[in-house]
Assembly symmetry: C2
Homo-oligomer: 302 residues x 2
């Protein structure tokens, strides 16, 4: 097959929209898609000071590579969750990825802060919930404490569509109302954006391969009970039967997201956590409760 | 394994809620479930005159068997769509099913009324859409013309959950707001109810087998392009991974259905069709347009 744009031998096939592309034009296609996502949702500009959550995987690696290439001001934060060899390997990849694109990398180590790894917390919550809450808190507070005004994560179309599907099938209405490519910043919440919102895992892998970006491909050893992979699986099945399902599903979701904002009333009234001063639903925020803190965690870089 | 209720050898396994049952207690379990559905949604009472849409398949056969057994006043309507051998075979099953439970059966034949089968209509609409609109119209008008006040269909949990999932993935909000186990009657719309709303296809097949109800199991030869089977497939996949997904999904939908009723405003204002006098969004209703009618179709039984 021939490249749709230049007629040379094609290297890559994109099932939706059905397109054969050579490597060069695949790069153009992919980067333009990211650029359009950034602009469509007004994610950030050249004036913003951007923090990206770097995990060592393909998504944040590709996002940081492209944002740097586009000329944005960006720094990485690697959160070491203290999951033995997996965390060490992730850190090595994250460091190499940041070095290769020449962006500063910051590190926060859970084990240094609290003397425990993420799987050593005594709690009735599942580990994945503890991990999620910890990540959200640390990334936000690090950005807040160090004057970043945008936090970028590598969530892609597969992540987002499966997350929305999961929340629909389980009718977690509250999560649906808050979901999207951009979460505006308010008060001590930093604006959160997902530039890979409209590209698939398959496209991201292709891009990483073409550019030569190396990344950790194992999944976290603690994520075995997680249910998101099953929703990814069924969306992949639907996509096979009719390509474009994921992107059309997520775009339809964004058009109709207002339907889920009616029940948000109560939960959106936030106080300040008595321990750390960050936004909280209760007297003490989830993070300070999980880790049993009596003073705020210090994340300011000198 | 032993029957959960009597301890005898079990014949049947119900994955959700995990239960082994002997045939006798499966019948009790299944019928009680239907009875509870009828009562929970206040579908009908012994005073109602009930019409059931009989198609020759397992669902309407099981529904008519059970409603008759429960002592309701019920008659069947078989709509012959004129799809050659398939329609003939369906009719023979429908007639036998009604005879076996001793309920009257009425027949409406599309080919006799319009000199055409359902697949010979010239239209830009897909055949399944024409068929759906025709069925909805004929069943409702037949019930209205002949003083029935409830219309029963055999839709089951698999039908309903896949329909809701399909409308969510494609964001057909309007359909979602109108979906449910009971559609109240208003004006010339007869109340529509689905007593099998909470039982699965597998359970219905088991029940038909245990009772000895015979039914047509082929699918309509015109339904090949239909997309509902793929949503049934993915729900079956999810159900395999975690049993109870379908019933919890549909119950969650019913709890949250109000979210989808906001955009219904305009479309719910109906006029009377100039040709037949039945409710219509336009000057002439979809049915009269599809079949090119200039006078109402006569369905009153003398």
């Amino acid at each position: 097959m021939r490249c749709k744009f230049c007629g040379r031998d094609a290297d890559i096939y994109i099932p939706y929209p059905r397109m054969h592309l050579c490597k060069e034009h695949f790069i153009v296609y992919f980067e333009r898609k990211i650029e359009r996502t950034i602009n469509r949702y007004k994610m950030f500009s050249k004036e913003d000071k951007i923090l990206i959550a770097i995990g060592g995987g393909k998504d944040s690696a590709v996002a940081s590579y492209i944002l740097k290439r586009f000329g944005y001001t960006i720094e990485g934060l690697f959160l070491d969750l203290g999951i033995g060899g997996f965390s060490e390997k992730s850190r090595r990849y994250a460091e190499k990825q940041c070095k290769d694109v020449d962006i500063p990398i910051h590190r926060v180590e859970i084990r240094k802060l609290f003397n425990r790894g993420i799987n050593e917390v005594k709690s009735s919550r599942p580990t994945c919930a503890i991990c999620g809450a910890t990540k959200r808190y640390i990334f936000n507070k690090f950005a807040y404490d160090n004057d970043f005004n945008v936090l970028v994560t590598g969530h892609n179309l597969d992540d987002e569509s499966s997350f929305v599907l999961s929340n629909l099938i389980n009718w977690n209405i509250e999560y649906l109302g808050r979901q999207g490519p951009i979460l505006p910043g308010t008060g001590k919440f930093i604006r959160k954006v997902k530039p890979l919102y409209e590209v698939t895992e398959v496209e991201i892998k292709e891009y990483a391969d073409v550019i030569g970006i190396e990344y950790i491909s194992e999944r976290c050893p603690l994520s075995k009970g997680e249910k998101i992979p099953r929703y990814k699986h069924v969306l992949n099945e639907l996509e096979k039967m009719s390509s474009g399902v994921k992107i059309n599903f997520i775009k339809g979701f964004l058009r109709n997201r207002h339907l889920f904002k009616f029940d948000l009333g109560k939960s959106s009234i936030l106080k300040e956590c008595k321990v750390c001063g960050m936004p909280s639903q209760g007297e003490v925020c989830v993070f300070c409760r999980i880790w049993g803190l009596d003073k705020p965690v210090e994340l300011k870089v000198s």
